[in-house]
């Protein structure tokens, strides 16, 4: 099987890179390179033609009508007498008001940190976006989106995993093509080659007595080479990835552009992802989760509330990543999605229940930003009499990124089987 060969190949490449590292190439760059860069720094041109993708999943069904309030739609205020974000011009309202984006849509006050990227033209919003499937199950809806096709029980790989299967490896030296920040590899990445879940990039190594570490690793490498898949492939990827991650000094990484990441787990994931991208070790895709969006009661859009805190973490994290990565001209596209939106009307617990249409975000220097994309279906006509309609299929958004930012237009029918996407002009 090819995975055997891949494992050997990876190992050889790693050694070759080490050789390059001590033989001059890195010697030159070491003069200028920051201390956190891997000692094995090498030419950084492998991926210049393709973006690294950072896929962020908001688990629990984020309330798009709060994140990006449609303040120009009068029905919004009828449906949400308590929870609606006040209009930007509602000066009599004592609560913080929406931040006007285009006279119709706004950002929730907690999302204000994203205004900077929006105004820079590198942050785009797609409203009334989501899956056409009617499921209101978190788990089914997440699965359908992550595999890239609703209701196909025979699909066990994710859309991004299939992109990686079909796309030429961007950096021939890379031993890790995708990393899912977490304990389980996200469904989005399942099936992809050289893809691993890693909870914390800064802490990924074999413990125990250092004197025998190499010998113990060699034992594991030998034993797992004969193991059954998926353990065999997973062990080979682990073995190779340990070396790469340990060559990056995450601890002394200094974010650029005035980026200030907090110590939340989401922002630590973004910060270490930024360091990983700049280390240029050939990782093509990173999946990050942010939970906490299932706001059935007391959702708390205002300062001190639950949703306020969650939105703040999302927005300040993306702002930092924007300054640190996008503003520094790294070729990175960020996509942000959630399994579905929430009911258009608030419930009597001051929360919202499982809905349908939601909101997606895109960020990157080649994103057609500063715009709210999509077709607004209005809230005066509701899906199943209770939710925002979906007018942009999530696959239209993701397929455009795969085709035009990840260079894999040829394989869209594999990445999104059974679907012919329409590009919406989200990329430049």
């Amino acid at each position: 099987m090819s995975q055997d060969c891949n494992a050997c190949h990876e190992y050889q490449m790693l050694n070759r890179r080490r050789f390059l590292g001590v033989s001059g190439l890195a010697g030159l760059s070491a003069l200028a390179a920051p201390a956190w860069l891997p000692r094995v720094a090498f030419a950084s041109s492998h991926i210049s033609g393709r973006d690294v993708i950072v896929s962020i999943y908001l688990r629990g069904a984020a309330d798009g009508l709060t994140l990006v309030p449609p303040f120009g739609d009068p029905a919004y205020y009828t449906l949400r007498p308590t929870l609606a974000i006040p209009r930007p011009d509602d000066l009599a309202n004592p609560n913080p008001r929406a931040i006007d984006l285009n006279g119709y849509f706004g950002l929730a006050p907690a999302m204000a940190p994203l205004l900077e990227a929006y105004q820079a033209g590198t942050f785009a919003i797609v409203h009334a976006a989501g899956s056409p499937d009617s499921s209101r199950s978190h788990f089914d809806a997440q699965r359908f989106m992550e595999v890239g096709k609703p209701r196909d029980p025979s699909l066990y790989t994710g859309w991004l995993g299939r992109h990686l299967i079909t796309a030429n490896q961007a950096d021939p030296n890379a031993v890790a093509r995708a990393i899912g920040i977490g304990y389980q590899l996200q469904m989005t990445l399942q099936g992809g080659p050289k893809s691993l879940p890693i909870p914390d990039l800064t802490n990924y190594g074999l413990t125990g007595p250092s004197g025998t570490r190499t010998a113990r690793l060699n034992y594991l490498n030998t034993a797992y080479a004969a193991a059954t898949d998926p353990l065999r492939a997973s062990a080979a990827n682990t073995y190779n990835t340990i070396s790469v991650l340990n060559s990056i000094n995450f601890g002394s990484y200094v974010p650029q552009g005035g980026a200030a990441y907090s110590n939340s787990s989401f922002q630590r994931a973004l910060r270490t992802t930024a360091a990983l991208i700049k280390a240029d070790v050939g990782v093509e895709a990173v999946a990050i989760d942010r939970g906490g969006w299932d706001t059935h009661s007391a959702q708390g859009n205002l300062v001190g509330g639950s949703l306020y805190g969650t939105m703040t973490d999302l927005a300040t994290g993306l702002q930092a990543f924007h300054r640190d990565i996008v503003q520094q001209n790294w070729n990175v596209t960020v996509v942000v999605m959630s399994e579905f939106g929430r009911t258009a009307a608030e419930n009597d617990s001051l929360g919202t229940d499982h809905g349908h249409g939601g909101v997606m975000f895109l960020m990157g220097r080649n994103i057609n930003g500063g715009l709210v994309h999509g077709t607004w279906p209005t809230l005066s006509s509701l899906y199943q009499n209770q939710d925002l309609h979906v007018t942009t299929d999530f696959r239209d958004v993701l397929a455009e990124v795969v085709a035009l930012r990840l260079g894999n237009n040829a394989n869209l029918s594999t990445v999104f089987p059974g679907y012919t996407p329409t590009f919406r002009g989200l990329t430049t």
């Binding site: 089914d140 066990y156 030429n168 304990y183 389980q184 399942q190 004969a226 340990i242 929360g351």
Partner: protein
């Protein structure tokens, strides 16, 4: 070059969709012990050999007959004062103390209970009726009560009784927001998960309208708050008639007449428990946990038929799952990280005086008990758990390096190596590891690799301990 060629590693034809599995394996007595316990031990193996396969299974299925007094004495002691507390008493204890005790007792029970199959069932149902212990709300203090009144009494009992107990559990009602589900402000969260996750399964044939109707039936199902008098009823189930929607409902085609009060919810529970989708869903989930990920439709139907015939007798279903005529060969099951850790502690006869020192390890493996946030419970697939191997490797090293204070393994001739002739040889040590941890089924290549690790010099005690640690991280020890 004039012809554009795809690089070698570029596959033009996508590979077929393959669900990751570990393949199929014949099940041996060693394998059966691994499937019905938190890990093989040599003592259990000898006992099962002496009793015979059928009698051993019968004993494990009739867990009440197994003497567990040593464990119970420990659980009743000063280490775990909250386990037997009532809701009122639990509410007065520091939340973190209650949380730590239920987590630590979970590990102690998994490792040291003689009712091993029962503890595996507790693990299974704790995921099925998952409650996140760290949720804002009452779970931190009150999950212990749910554990002792919902999960444990019914783990090998009758499913309808467990479903009903869960529906009356204050912690579950709080976790899934039913305490805010009222006639004027219905909240669908519990109603949906009750059908999707607890009974019918997501494809079990209910509609969004059923969710709305079931939510109406459960309006007013809540618990008495923390300032109620008498204090003895605090955090116990309460039907608040004033918040109940007394209109007629139609659930899965059944008319529930107006004016039913609390009986509306009770009727829903009966409808769900008797529904063929529930029989199918529970049967499938059990097979996936104990037999393998891809049971056939016939196999599932055979277990579901027992559910229907016995009105949800979990013990009868498990007897069939474990004695299944489809049992040659079984599908490989990857130990989940908690199972992996417990199995190492069991096989190596570890002494665990301070289980709290293993909590960080459980967290870093992604499998701290009761720490799955969403109501679907920890995943149960190879694909979910095969990616993160490093904590499994590191656990072996840390355990044998005495990194967990209060957790010890005696890997010397006074302990695990007792009876081996001096001088100790690499071959003899690996042979002992094979017997203790694998019941003699350690693959030859892994034996050779481990022997090679111990050679060429006479093995030092440090190196012997490392060899045990490596065996914990070895491929074969990951499979149940």
């Amino acid at each position: 070059m004039s012809i554009l060629q795809a690089p070698k590693h570029y596959s033009l034809i996508p590979p077929p969709e393959m669900k990751p599995t570990g393949g199929r394996i014949p099940i041996s007595l060693v394998g059966m012990i691994n499937r019905t316990s938190f890990g093989f031990t040599q003592a259990e193996h000898h006992r099962a050999l002496a009793m015979g396969h059928a009698a051993y299974l019968n004993e494990q299925l009739n867990h009440e007959t197994i003497d567990d007094s040593t464990l119970n004495t420990r659980l009743a002691g000063a280490e775990f004062p909250t386990l037997a507390m009532t809701p009122e008493l639990l509410s007065a204890v520091n939340t973190s103390d209650v949380q730590n005790q239920i987590i630590r007792s979970r590990l102690i029970r998994a490792v040291f209970s003689r009712r091993q199959l029962f503890e595996r069932m507790v693990d299974f149902w704790s995921d099925h009726f998952n409650i996140w212990l760290f949720e804002d709300g009452i779970a931190g203090n009150q999950k212990t009560w749910d554990d002792s009144t919902v999960i444990r009494p019914h783990a090998l009992g009758y499913f309808p009784a467990m479903l009903s107990a869960s529906a009356h559990s204050p912690t579950m009602l709080d976790y899934l927001n039913n305490n805010t589900n009222t006639a004027t402000g219905p909240n669908q969260n519990y109603a949906r998960e009750l059908m999707e996750l607890h009974s019918l399964g997501v494809d079990g044939g209910y509609t969004q309208d059923d969710v709305i109707q079931v939510a109406r039936c459960f309006t007013g199902w809540t618990y008495w708050g923390g300032s109620t008098n008498p204090s003895s009823i605090r955090y116990t189930f309460r039907f608040n008639a004033g918040n109940h929607d007394n209109g007629q409902k139609i659930v899965l085609g059944n008319i529930i007449p107006a004016g039913g009060g609390q009986q509306d919810g009770e009727t829903v529970l009966q409808i769900l428990a008797a529904h063929p989708s529930t029989a199918n869903y529970i049967a499938k989930k059990m097979l996936r946990h104990f037999w393998g990920e891809n049971p056939s439709a016939d196999h599932i139907a055979s277990i579901a038929a027992i559910y229907t015939r016995t009105q949800g007798d979990i013990r009868a279903m498990m007897r069939a799952v474990l004695n299944t005529p489809f049992n040659q060969p079984w599908e490989a099951k990857l130990k989940r990280p908690f199972h992996h850790m417990a199995s190492a502690l069991r096989a190596l006869s570890a002494t665990v005086t301070t289980p709290g020192n293993l909590q960080t390890q459980m967290t870093s493996s992604g499998h701290l008990p009761f720490n799955w946030q969403t109501p679907d419970g920890y995943p149960d697939t190879i694909a979910a758990w095969s990616g993160l191997l490093l904590p499994r490797w590191n656990f072996g090293a840390s355990l044998m390096n005495s990194s967990f204070s209060g957790v010890s393994v005696d890997a010397t001739v006074t302990g695990l190596l007792a009876g081996l002739p001096a001088p100790l040889t690499a071959v003899a040590i690996v042979g002992r590891i094979n017997n203790l941890m694998f019941g003699g089924t350690m693959p030859a290549n892994e034996q050779i690799a481990l022997t090679t690790y111990l050679l060429p010099n006479a093995p030092t005690s440090a190196k012997i301990r490392e060899a045990f640690g490596l065996a914990v991280g070895s491929p074969a020890f990951q499979w149940a």
